[in-house]
Symmetry: C3
Subunit: 276 residues, 3 copies
């Protein structure tokens, strides 16, 4: 599945100030071995460009925003990568860099965002979801895994301890209405309005002064970002959990039943991990 | 009233992984001299058991989840108890230990949760309320008391400064809808659905891996728990407030009007403390 | 406009325990050169009075709660003022003192609260808004300015990072329903109910014990107030942004189109700053 296309993540410049990043890795937008280097290149471009002010992340795949690791690929390759500029593993490295980038990042969520898809959305500055078609979750605990891309740190600060524990420890699907009530997303909008809303917001912010955006965001960061050590600790706990026999067994059982492949398991992932 | 039954807090093991704790001290589920040692024993069991993953706290008494101290009992006994393992007074000690326990705690709230009942719910990992029948509050400020079990620390982090100050300083009743809007509870559910929802969630989490639950919760704790010193400072302020003549006079007036006894004062406590 | 009246901010003592502060500087309740010293005097009175327990801030001007700086007045006068008792510039100084005052402050918001008006509301302990007639915003980023009175610090803690970034970086109007959903205000009430609700709450709290209120609020402050250094850093970034040519040009363009004067620009400020 990870071999079907060579470009899974596209960067489109709508204008020098307003970019779109599109996940296009059908059928699941699963996070494969090529996703990481392709996203890494884009994050670096976002950090270094002198003109871009707004980046919208979206999906071109029906039903999926961006999901978890491809458990059918070789996972050792991923965990053994050398650290990124922050000293963190490349995945959490990329996320904390995106949150600190002097650019406004917006996740436009239609379809399922779970695992790394949810973590990317949480690393963005804002999240807008399709009321009917968005599903957010951190499915990991249901597979015996500690989530690795920071949701313990980020969801706790976004929605408070009680709701964060529910989302993460239930490992269940969160639909648009509940995602809005909990603050998992800024707002859920009727699916027909979502694209227009996000586009208008992105164009609006792109008309503002870049240095003002940067200086203002920097101060929100001081007040709201978790320290990197919390993200690092979460990644380490994830890697440790992946190595445990009990977790390996759970993942094997899930794979035997259809996990990481197109079909009912991924379509109804929250239900699925509760049936083990 | 505190003499009517010898067991006020029951522990039931639905399975080795899923326990229920039931408050059964009619007619008010008032927090009497025996409540503390009985709960202490249960908290210690929860901490030390190697199999339990989920504990649900609930009430067997119509109209009351768990309420405040029994002001008709000898309060000196309570404030002079030796500290618990954390160095805090046994009541806040028990609460901070519950929040850190490697087990998922869920408050199923039907009826009034005020004072210690609200504080226990806030120390739990998650809270689900009956939309029609739950009433949450911290009535203390209306009686001249600083709340002693940590709501200043916990509500501020759960619902933000403005709503926390309103809940605590108004000392008023919060019904199901508002409790959900403010994030006082995770969700309020139709009363008919509440038991089934909580039971399904508890069973779901109980099917997951204990070490994964523990390691994941530990990282949410880092991001979301107040430091113990804030809870200790709140307890000290509570004890100091209780000793002041102005507070003693307020409490005496409330008792003369029916406080701490079954009847209208406790049924409509928010209204009642506003009439002094 | 700033010359039309000599008293723009009135203090009324409804009782020794319950005060009202009324902004009455028609037609816009714009923040002019006299507003700061008049408010300063009132904040000092609130801090030092031994009896007051509750202060409600409200407007006597149709359509406006309190808005931004009068950009047609001499701004140098404002930025060069000597620091207040906290060492901060008088405007942020006044705000952090209000948040720490041993008194409950409530913003009753009807009409537009933007810039300093939003910042004052955020420094209050609680905020209640007219569902139909309140508009909150931080318009500054749309004018090339970093907001100077602490919204990066305060909104991030109140509504979480994602919604705070949206409110501040979109610089757009937030109506009553959305303000409630986001936690910008405690609650939005039907306009016809707002005055009665706030008055009842203020009278209720005014009937409680002053020392209990103070000691309880102090502990919520520990859990919820940003450190002064974050507010100071925001003010410094605001002053720096104001001096930049790009910002001066933006503000000049806005003034040429009606900014800081009665009319459509101020009535629809969110729309207006998006048209540059």
């Amino acid at each position: 599945m990870s071999e079907t296309k060579s470009t899974e993540v596209y960067l489109t410049r709508r204008s020098p100030h307003y970019w779109r990043v599109t996940f296009d890795h059908p059928p699941l937008n699963i996070f494969g071995p090529k996703t990481l280097p392709q996203m890494s290149e884009i994050i670096t471009a976002i950090e270094n460009d002198e003109q871009v002010k707004v980046v919208v992340f979206e999906s071109a795949v029906e039903g999926f925003f961006l999901i978890h690791l491809d458990f059918l690929a070789k996972l050792d390759d991923l965990t053994r990568l050398p650290p990124g500029p922050t000293g963190l593993h490349p995945w959490p490295d990329m996320l904390v860099r995106l949150s600190r980038a002097p650019v406004v990042s917006i996740a436009l969520i239609r379809g399922r965002a779970t695992g790394m898809g949810s973590e990317l959305a949480l690393a963005c500055d804002m999240r807008f979801a399709s009321r009917e078609k968005a599903i957010l979750s951190q499915f990991e605990v249901g597979a015996g895994l500690v989530p690795g891309g920071g949701p313990m740190a980020r969801l706790s600060r976004l929605m408070g301890r009680g709701r964060a524990l529910e989302v993460i420890l239930s490992a269940d699907d969160v639909q648009g209405d509940l995602a809005e009530l909990y603050g998992y997303v800024n707002r859920s909008l009727p699916d027909a309005d979502l694209d227009g809303f996000v586009d208008a917001l992105a164009n609006r912010i792109a008309s503002f002064d870049k240095q003002t955006i940067r200086d203002t965001k920097r101060l929100v960061n001081v007040a709201s970002l978790p320290p990197d050590i919390e993200i690092e600790s979460g990644w380490d706990a994830c890697v440790a959990s992946m190595a445990r026999p009990a977790t390996q067994q759970r993942i094997k059982t899930l794979i035997d039943r259809g996990f990481s492949r197109s079909g009912d398991a991924e379509n109804r992932l929250g239900y699925f991990v509760g049936q083990t």
